[in-house]
């Protein structure tokens, strides 16, 4: 049985107070808190197994390598990838998308090609393509978003053509929480021979994601948003695509052989096998160990249960927020069936930062600003927004307190 009150007992930080009030953490779309199991796994690694991986024959290195490889395996199974060869560890979603942009885009995109992204993307799924476009000269086409913040699928249909080489779309919007039908867009992209890259930063932590079923070519996500530590993230890629790609960065670990030829005066290099070909240098081993434990924790909870819990919280919170004050406005779609636990909102007469600071006074943490999605805010004609986002440890009681304070802000 999924019981957030029991789950909370695993999270030491939730016992602290902020401004003399019990902490209510509603900024989970930015980062999640960490259960004691993850904290202990990292501590245990440094206390008992710390060594560099894939470098030495000694016992500690063997243990560290096993843990590191097992973390890849755990993640691969979590998203139903074919194996560890399809799960590249990176720093986070941003680096995963940059890896695709530089290692694939730089070598495969030409002047007459097009990349299609949506206007609801996080900056991390826009800026890398802009950067590569300046080097390679291809065109970026932006798929529209409806006035309620929902994706305009017809716009994708209009934009995707034979010139399209890759389509980049977030699975869940980090501003509105809306779940995009990435399978539908992937099918369309594949009909034209284009690849499909999915930003899963807000979906993988909150719902079951099966890369085979959704038929995505790349999936990027972060460990820290799914109970894991900061500094570790994942790029899933179909192995046949990763295999053909050039490496992202050069160094140790990503090579099988570097041999100097006196004849040519150069080194011949053979790349390592997947996924190590894309993991140059000493990786974040303790981060991987923490991520492994986070994935195990989420598997035990069950991702369907996680999704249902967040749906319950969202459907409980939205009407209460709407009713608590005439000044409170919720932005974006409020159809709970196609939405994760993210609620963007504003209070008339106050900036989002005023709202966040007022809530902070009561120990309630929400995000304010553009949330790294300025184009979407411009489209929705918002100067900024406040955002409450839920996770496995949030409760209805916390939402009651949040709404109570929101009601009070409405009196300003």
């Amino acid at each position: 049985m999924f019981d957030p009150h029991k789950i909370r007992e695993h999270f030491p930080i939730l016992k602290r107070k902020v401004n003399d009030y019990p902490l209510i953490y509603l900024d989970n779309a930015a980062t999640s808190q960490k259960p004691i199991q993850v904290i202990n796994a990292i501590k245990d690694f440094y206390e008992k197994h710390n060594a560099n991986v894939h470098r030495a024959v000694h016992t500690l290195s063997q243990e560290a390598s096993e843990l590191y490889e097992d973390a890849h395996d755990e993640v691969a199974r979590f998203i139903s990838a074919r194996g560890i060869e399809e799960t590249v560890f990176v720093r986070g979603t941003t680096e995963a998308i940059n890896l695709v942009a530089y290692a694939w885009g730089l070598h495969n995109l030409e002047k007459d090609d097009e990349v299609v992204v949506s206007l609801m993307e996080h900056h991390s799924n826009i800026v890398p393509w802009e950067l590569i476009s300046r080097i390679r000269g291809f065109k970026i086409r932006f798929a529209e978003v409806n006035r309620n913040g929902a994706l305009n699928y017809e716009s994708f249909e209009d934009l995707i053509s034979k010139r399209t080489k890759i389509v980049c779309l977030s699975h869940v919007s980090n501003v509105t929480g809306i779940i995009n039908d990435v399978k539908r867009v992937a099918k369309l992209a594949h009909e034209y021979g284009a690849l499909m890259l999915v930003d899963g930063a807000q979906s993988v932590p909150h719902m079951p994601v099966n890369v085979k079923d959704l038929d995505m070519d790349f999936l990027a996500f972060s460990g820290h948003k799914m109970l894991g530590p900061t500094g570790i993230g994942v790029l899933y890629g179909k192995s046949e695509i990763l295999d053909k790609m050039e490496p992202f960065q050069g160094g140790g670990e990503m090579i099988k052989e570097v041999s100097f030829s006196g004849k040519t005066g150069r080194c011949s290099i053979a790349w390592n096998s997947l996924p190590w070909k894309f993991e140059a240098g000493t990786p974040d081993v303790s981060g991987a160990v923490g991520l492994r434990e986070a994935v195990r924790y989420l598997r035990q909870l069950g991702m369907e249960n996680v999704k249902k819990h967040e749906e319950r919280l969202t459907s409980y919170a939205v009407p209460r927020m709407q009713e608590c004050s005439e000044k409170v406005e919720i932005y974006g779609p409020t159809d709970f069936s196609s939405k994760c636990g993210i609620i963007p909102f504003g209070v008339e007469g106050l900036s989002s930062h005023d709202v966040a600071l007022f809530l902070d006074n009561f120990g309630i943490m929400v995000r304010s600003g553009f949330h790294c999605a300025q184009p979407l805010h411009e489209l929705l004609k918002l100067n900024s927004s406040a955002r409450a986002s839920f996770y496995v440890y949030n409760t209805q009681e916390e939402i009651d307190k949040f709404v109570e304070v929101l009601e009070e802000i409405g009196q300003f």
Partner: protein, 89 residues
């Protein structure tokens, strides 16, 4: 001689179209800073002893009892320093 920096922990530009500036006072001096500002600026409205909308030298801003201020529409860092000096020193 007292300096504005003696009171300030952080100054952050906000994310959003508004381009506000949030000043956070040092924990140990926040009560003193809040008291001084409330004494020197004119109160326009307040709520629950937590948020105070104040006016000072034609600048409207919001002060929080937790030790933070949001300034709007400032032209430069010098302008911010000038207001803070007048409010705190």
């Amino acid at each position: 001689m007292a300096k504005v920096d003696d009171y300030i922990s952080r100054t952050d530009g906000t994310c959003g179209k508004e381009k506000d500036v949030i000043v956070t006072f040092k924990y140990e001096r926040r009560n003193e800073a809040v008291k001084k500002i409330r004494e020197r600026a004119a109160l326009k409205k307040s709520l629950a002893g937590i948020i105070f909308e104040l006016e000072f030298k034609n600048h409207s801003f919001r002060l929080y009892s937790s030790g933070k201020v949001i300034f709007r529409g400032l032209e430069s860092k010098d302008e911010l320093n000038s207001i803070l000096s007048a409010l705190l020193l």
